[in-house]
């Protein structure tokens, strides 16, 4: 049965990142999540598989803690998840990530479409979909806001800065989808319970025989500190709050 592969990444929730006074970055309190827009990639795979009678599967490349993502991903309608469990994921750049994902895709059978999101919420590089396509030598359509598979042909609408482009391509292919392509539903309790029983196929780095050495080196990380006045009017009548605000803005000379 034709497989539609949704690539998703298990990422740090950026809302939990703490920045120390010296601008160093503290991730120790941060929870992890499926990258926001990857939920749309998963939903697009599920919808496409339903439409063509195929099988929607997930694929993730992560360190040991990405195991926590499996149940969440499976509760979103995927039938199985392929999990590349490798310490190399912690240092991976676009090149290493695409190599890992492409190697796993090669090992799967009957893949006819790979769906990535526009960008991951941590890196937001927007590299991985076109990179996977180039590694596999499959055609690519990025920035897709609408897609349809009929027979062996994919028709996709790409949203670019200046136009909408409709492109056609023979499968297998790789696409990156924009978040507006769908509205991923919140998994039902039933789906969450069923997720625990769905199959997971795990790959080790060694098994994949892919080049996972990063080509870019991170030299420094610095947190961004927002230093603002933070004068918040929260008590009393709205009329008085507004008065105080208008007075403050006049004093600032901006109105």
């Amino acid at each position: 049965m034709a497989r539609i592969v949704a690539c998703y990444k298990w990422v740090v929730d950026e809302a939990d990142i703490r920045i120390n006074p010296d601008r160093s970055v503290d991730l120790s309190k941060a929870k992890k999540k499926i990258s926001d827009y990857d939920k749309c990639a998963i939903e697009a795979a599920v919808q496409t598989a339903t439409a063509i009678g195929g099988k929607a599967v997930g694929l993730t490349f992560g360190t040991a803690d990405a195991r926590q993502s499996l149940k969440d991903a499976l509760s979103r309608g995927l039938e199985e998840v392929y999990y590349i469990n490798a310490e190399e994921a912690a240092q991976a750049d676009g090149a290493a990530t695409a190599n890992a994902l492409a190697a796993a895709i090669k090992k799967m059978e009957e893949v006819n479409l790979v769906i990535c999101a526009e960008g991951a919420s941590d890196t937001y590089q927007r590299q991985i979909a076109p990179r996977i396509g180039a590694v596999l030598d499959w055609p690519v359509a990025t920035s897709v806001s609408k897609l349809e598979v009929t027979g062996n042909t994919l028709t996709a609408v790409r949203k670019l800065d200046d136009c909408l482009q409709t492109v056609k391509v023979e499968l297998p292919a790789v696409v990156s989808v924009l978040p507006e392509i769908n509205n991923p539903p919140i998994p039902t309790l039933k789906a969450v319970l069923a997720a625990g029983k769905k199959p997971v196929k795990e790959f080790s780095a060694g098994e994949l025989n892919a080049d996972l050495v990063p080509k870019t080196r991170v030299a420094d990380l610095q947190g961004y500190v927002m230093s603002r006045k933070n004068l918040i009017f929260k008590d009393g009548e709205a009329v008085d709050q507004v008065k105080e605000l208008v007075a403050a803005l006049k004093k600032e000379g901006v109105i």
Binding site: E14, I17, V25, D93, G94, A95, G119, S121, T123, Y124, R126, Q127, I128, P130, G133, A134, V135, P139, A141, T142, T155, L160, D161, D162, C163, L164, Q165, T166, V167, K168, A173, P179, E180, P214, K215, T216, R217, V218, A219, D220, L221, G223, Y224, M226, R228, N230, L231, I232, F233, A238, V239, Q241, V242, L245, V246, A248, L249, E252, V254, I255
Partner: protein
């Protein structure tokens, strides 16, 4: 010819990247795909302009042959304007060159056989400095470098394209020409707005202030209540007005990245815990349907 190879589907970004290459003491070699662009870019300081002829209308489809050209010529960098087409082409070229790539860099400089870049990650919460050794690929948004002028030689070249993907239809997206980045004041609406009719509230506030209207991504891309060029943030516009006032905007980092250079930031949100208040100079915790009409009234008094 070694040097910095450049492509952008936006001419102003291409011109800025040429400016970067020249200021770094490198030759600038520009790739264009049509004669009109070749003409427009004729005096942009490029040492050489390759006018590419080929069988595809999609620039992304030339990735493999562009990579081959870069290799043969001994290119030092492929620098591409950070637009959807540019990012796509650049990432594929990086694979064919088997090299590193930094996307949407905010700074770029050249060291001893290496490139130093900075870009934001985690939605804008953190700035990452990266080192790319040897031949590398970067994408660069507009506004980072100064253009220069000067003419160079023009060379016609035919490149092979991937023909497996075909363009069926192109529909231009109408832009209203709103330039939020130049606005002095901006009223920003978020998903806290209940109905499209309620946009009137934002319009009235904008009129009272003499402000432009901006929004969060969801208002433009999911609800389509405003055109895409009106949304602010990491994937939208970056603005630097004297005054930014938000209504019903939670203030997630991906949005706030776009307003950090504002002189004064004001947030109006019903949720005291909304992150917009940490990013704001002034804030009102309250229902915007109550607060904004009062504000409009106070402003017109």
């Amino acid at each position: 010819m070694s040097g910095v190879y450049i492509f952008s589907d936006k001419n102003d970004i291409a011109a800025e990247i040429i400016g970067f290459a020249k200021s770094a003491g490198k030759d600038a070699i520009l790739l264009v795909f049509d004669e009109q662009t070749a003409k427009v870019m004729g005096n942009s300081g490029a040492d050489k302009i390759y006018l590419v002829n080929g069988e595809s209308e999609l620039v992304e489809s030339y990735a493999r042959s562009i990579a081959q050209l870069l290799r043969e010529e001994g290119a030092e960098l492929f620098a591409v304007g950070a637009t959807p087409r540019g990012r796509d082409l650049a990432a594929r070229v990086a694979v064919y060159l088997n090299c590193g790539m930094a996307s949407d860099v905010s700074t770029l400089s050249c060291g001893d056989g290496q490139w130093l870049t900075q870009r934001i990650i985690y939605g804008g919460a953190v700035q990452q400095t990266e080192v790319l050794e040897g031949l590398a690929v970067v994408t660069i948004p507009g506004g980072k470098f100064e253009p220069v002028s000067g003419t160079g030689e023009m060379v016609n070249i035919t490149l092979a394209a991937d023909r497996r993907i075909s363009l069926e239809e192109t529909m231009p997206i109408g832009h209203q020409g709103a330039d939020l980045s130049a606005a002095e004041k901006v009223v920003c609406v978020g998903m806290g707005l209940e109905k499209e009719e309620d946009m009137q509230l934002a319009k009235d506030l904008a009129a009272a202030l003499g402000a432009e209207i901006g929004c969060t991504r969801g208002i433009a891309e999911e609800r389509h209540w405003l055109p895409a060029e009106r949304y602010i943030g990491i994937s939208g516009a970056v603005i630097k007005p004297k005054l930014y006032i938000s209504m019903g905007v939670s203030g997630q980092v991906q949005h706030v990245v776009g307003i950090r250079d504002s002189q004064v930031i004001v947030g109006i949100d019903i949720n005291e815990k909304a992150p917009i208040f940490a990013a704001a100079d002034y804030g009102i915790v309250g229902d915007m349907y109550e607060v904004v009409p009062l504000l409009i009234k106070a402003l017109s008094e």
